[in-house]
């Protein structure tokens, strides 16, 4: 599971969706792997406005990565800064969680990740 995907995941419990503490989910005891992926600057540039930057800062800090700038780069800044483009490509698309879990900050439920796949099926008492 790519770090970018964490920006688009929240708790599966309906009652948690309206709580701001259910997003982002918090990575716990995660093993990371990195794959070399051919950069796709157009895709990255276009997806940037979809990224919740403050959630990304939280996720990236919790995974132990160096601090990101406090605000998202603009599209123009990203396009003119090869180093930033490369770093975001590495963080968002090449870095992946292979094992671990994701924890909801609202209900505390832990979703396990195995072989890069998180399981969001809920136990009966949470459905």
């Amino acid at each position: 599971m790519k770090v970018l995907t964490l920006n688009f995941l929240t708790c599966a419990v309906k009652a948690c969706k309206s709580s701001t503490s259910s997003f982002p989910l918090h990575p716990k005891e995660c093993e990371l792997v990195s794959d070399s992926i051919v950069p796709n600057p157009a895709l990255l540039t276009n997806i940037l406005p979809r990224v919740d930057w403050s959630a990304l800062i939280t996720i990236s800090t919790e995974l132990g990565f160096p601090t990101l700038p406090p605000t998202a780069p603009t599209i123009e800044e990203l396009q003119s800064d090869e180093k930033m483009m490369a770093e975001l490509h590495t963080l968002l698309l090449e870095t992946q969680i292979s094992e671990g879990s994701l924890v909801c900050g609202n209900c505390g439920h832990e979703y396990k990740i195995k072989e890069g796949i998180a399981n969001f099926l809920l136990p009966n008492h949470l459905v």
Binding site: M1, T5, F23, I47, R50, I117, N119, F120, V127
Partner: protein, 260 residues
């Protein structure tokens, strides 16, 4: 709504070589989730690998939809099966989910690349609302066993979209008189459909049957029903049609759409 009492194998399975999921006292009305667990999810878990080998060719209308989206569009594939739509347009970012962990496992590496996949229930999607540019849900909602749950699935998908996002939904049609199954207008809409899995004779234990038949539950959509369901949950149909025994539509959130 049609009575559900006819949700049985179309023909009684008397052949002793065949085994099937038996219908006991369970019914969709009494306990739809456990009914679907038994007559849909458990079956896909059993047939996942065989099913995947028969599902490798993307359907053109769906491919065209995916290819029409701008580069960098963010989307969902709800009920992704083996993941065959994840490779159609490499300029999209798709998070795919399925209720079957066996199918998700196949989808996660479909096409010899890593795809973004999670195991999730379509009625309990683990995504923030209102952020996705598009969604596809192909041959999925027809496995839900009550009208309320089928509509809830569509509402759940629409709630993930931005106000201008588009969802493409495909479901099996009742009107398919040219197919070998012979269903048509006016027929029973809630049916069990056999999936026959053959094994090669090598490797069989003595006396072991060489094929097993599994029965999957389907709700066959009649003309107009899919569009009606979209409208009932406050969605707006943008395009729709019939293709290869399926009804399909592209829909978005209507102005009256209320999140679930």
């Amino acid at each position: 709504m049609a009575p559900l009492t006819a949700a049985k194998p179309e023909e009684p399975l008397t052949d002793s070589k065949q085994t099937s999921v038996t219908l006991e006292d369970d019914s969709p009305q009494a306990a739809p989730e456990s009914y679907e667990e038994k007559h849909v999810h458990a079956v896909y878990s059993q047939i996942a690998s065989h099913f995947s080998h028969t599902r490798y060719k993307p359907w053109p209308i769906i491919s065209n939809f995916l290819l029409s989206l701008p580069s960098g569009s963010l989307g969902l594939d709800v009920g992704c099966g083996n993941g065959k739509y994840l490779l159609v347009n490499p300029n999209l970012y798709i998070i795919a989910s399925d209720r079957s962990s066996e199918l998700v496992s196949i989808a996660s590496t479909y096409g010899d690349r890593k795809n973004e996949t999670v195991v999730a229930d379509g009625l309990r999607l683990p995504h923030p609302r209102g952020v996705f540019d598009f969604a596809i849900s192909i041959a999925v909602v027809h496995h839900l066993s009550t009208a309320e749950r089928r509509r809830e699935a569509i509402r759940s998908i629409l709630s993930m979209l931005t106000t201008t996002g588009k969802a493409m939904i495909y479901a099996w049609a009742l009107e398919q008189k040219d197919s070998r199954r012979g269903w048509d207008e006016g027929g029973e809409q809630d049916v069990m459909v056999p999936w026959v899995m053959k094994k090669s004779k090598k490797g069989l234990a003595p006396g072991e049957p060489n094929e097993t038949t599994y029965q999957r539950y389907y709700h066959l959509y009649r003309r107009g029903e899919l569009e009606d369901d979209v409208a009932i949950v406050g969605g707006k149909v943008l395009e729709g049609g019939y293709e290869k025994d399926n009804w399909w539509c592209i829909c978005g959130r209507g102005e009256e759409f209320a999140e679930c």
